[in-house]
Symmetry: C2
Subunit: 334 residues, 2 copies
């Protein structure tokens, strides 16, 4: 593990100068500071917990492409759960909304070292998020919500068990007589959408139901998904549709109703996530719950474990099927 | 959640009598105590952390079919890691070797309640272990090492990431020019052996290598495995063999040498687990490490989370490939 002295030796400068650069003191040139930070990253330098005072135990929650400021926003409770454990344990937690500009201007490791963060909890990243690639090589502890990185001992994946969730959903539908089930999904450009897509087919096969690839449709735009793909599934004769997330499920319900189908009498709909609005849709939405407070708490546990060199790779919470009124007995053949 | 009063009401006896039975006081009949315990289990009664004094925070480690008493035994370090976190946190930890007789005489939940255990860490169970079925319905927090139970919010699975491990092993062999890889395994009568078997084929397919089912062989007896199945793999022309665990890998190496093959010049061998002896075999064994101290520590973290109603389902540690001398460049065709 690289120390300040190693960085100083490599650049032929004093350790004091390195310390200034890493601790953000202003009286050195920007160019030199940049060089020192880049060398620090190259040599695998990380801020160590034991070298920091308690007031300096700083963690960050990095958010991209996700709402979190109001109680009904998806990420609100996750952050709350994280803070509920992190702050009593003596950590400072900064929530940082990362822009594309920030990510393109500053490598992830440099950002972390510059700001004295000893660990990150990362939400809302997809395959195209610029910093995503940095997690393959970074030596700074990071926990990725709903994202998986192979073979980096300081990076972990935390989320809900999508296989368990889909299996619960498909079993519930099968018990109600459904044999032809469809799937609507957001685009498969993120780990989580790929995982749920795969879990859907796995659950169908386990249940002994038709798992033909054509019964799953995915796209970037919710409008396209419900206007173009939903009717195709209905034409195929599906009696139930599982959706990759609750907003899409709600849009699908509305579209079904516009097309003259009754939910659940003609078609059953299941969402994923159990967002607060699901209890208030018409009809109230059956969905797979991920407990967001628990995700935040588990995220902190795993991050603290990584900081203490316990090399967790994956933590999955149990999924839970919340049965409301958007699912019912399968319509028998006319 | 059932209380003592509920049990008393159901049986038409006093709460004091229920308390005596649940706390093991001797002055009631065995028959009545049995009835009370069974009713407690039926009603879902569990000992609660908050009702216990610190001296009564009792956990147990249940072991079947696994050695743990000496430092070179597989389970020794797992127990050590568990204790390293549990005891400073105020828990008493009993290690209980469970016999078939105990399991057949006493249902799991009754055993836990009788002994005031608020959670269990469970090692060495397979599909045939009598108490295994009890984890599907038990409401007492339990963490199963290398065993998975679907859809019980108070039971979790902790282990190493077998997919990551197998992918690392296959990638390493592929880099050294191996194209035909075989697999020898203990019988597939446990979750972990099934998981590794599946992971082996997954890794082959990911690497674009021949994943024909005939290249994997499994059996109960190590002797049968190496005497009967190993020669078949060699006849098929494999240049490398991955084994489901280190003892089998070592037996396979010895058998190869008896048959006149040099390891790794003629055939590369990879184990799984990284037991202490792997550094001392001839040649030293390349293997996939599971860090057993970290498994114990993670097991405790997860158990404490379940006790605090954080419903973790799965925790996987990063696997690590330890490259020693039993693997080398693939032999080119004669």
């Amino acid at each position: 593990m690289a120390r300040m002295q190693d960085i100083a030796d490599k650049l032929g400068i004093s350790k004091g100068t390195v310390s200034k650069a890493l601790n953000g003191t202003a009286n050195i040139s920007e160019e030199l500071q940049k060089k020192i930070l880049e060398t620090a990253v190259e040599l695998g330098y990380t801020k160590k917990l034991r070298r920091q005072k308690d007031t300096e135990k700083k963690l960050c929650i990095l958010i991209d492409n996700m709402e979190y400021k109001e109680t009904h926003h998806f990420a609100y409770d996750i952050i709350l759960g994280f803070r509920q454990l992190a702050e009593p344990a003596g950590y400072t937690v900064d929530v940082v909304q990362v822009t594309d500009k920030l990510q393109k201007d500053t490598p992830y490791d440099v950002f972390m070292i510059q700001n004295n963060y000893i660990g990150a909890f990362v939400m809302g990243f997809n395959f195209a998020t610029p910093w995503m690639k940095d997690f393959h090589t970074s030596k700074i502890p990071a926990v990725l919500y709903d994202n998986y990185v192979f073979d980096n001992p300081t990076v972990a994946y935390v989320g809900v068990d999508n296989n368990e969730g889909m299996t619960l959903a498909v079993s519930h539908l099968k018990q109600q007589g459904h044999k032809s089930i469809g799937y609507l999904s957001a685009a498969l450009g993120s780990h989580i959408m790929q995982a749920r897509h795969k879990a859907f087919f796995h659950a169908l096969r386990q249940a002994g139901l038709n798992a033909d690839r054509t019964r799953a449709r995915s796209t970037y735009m919710i409008a396209e998904c419900v206007e173009k793909y939903l009717p195709k599934l209905l034409e195929m004769g599906v009696t139930a549709i599982i959706c990759s997330h609750d907003q899409l499920a709600n849009a699908a319900m509305l579209q079904c109703q516009q097309l003259g189908y009754h939910v659940p009498e003609d078609i059953s709909i299941i969402g994923f996530d159990d967002l607060p609005f699901c209890a208030y849709t018409a009809p109230p939405l059956t969905t797979i719950r991920q407990n967001r407070i628990q995700i935040g708490k588990s995220g902190f546990h795993v991050l603290e474990s990584l900081i203490n060199q316990i090399s967790i790779g994956t933590l999955l919470l149990h999924a839970q099927l919340i049965i409301r009124s958007s699912t019912g007995e399968a319509k028998t053949e006319k």
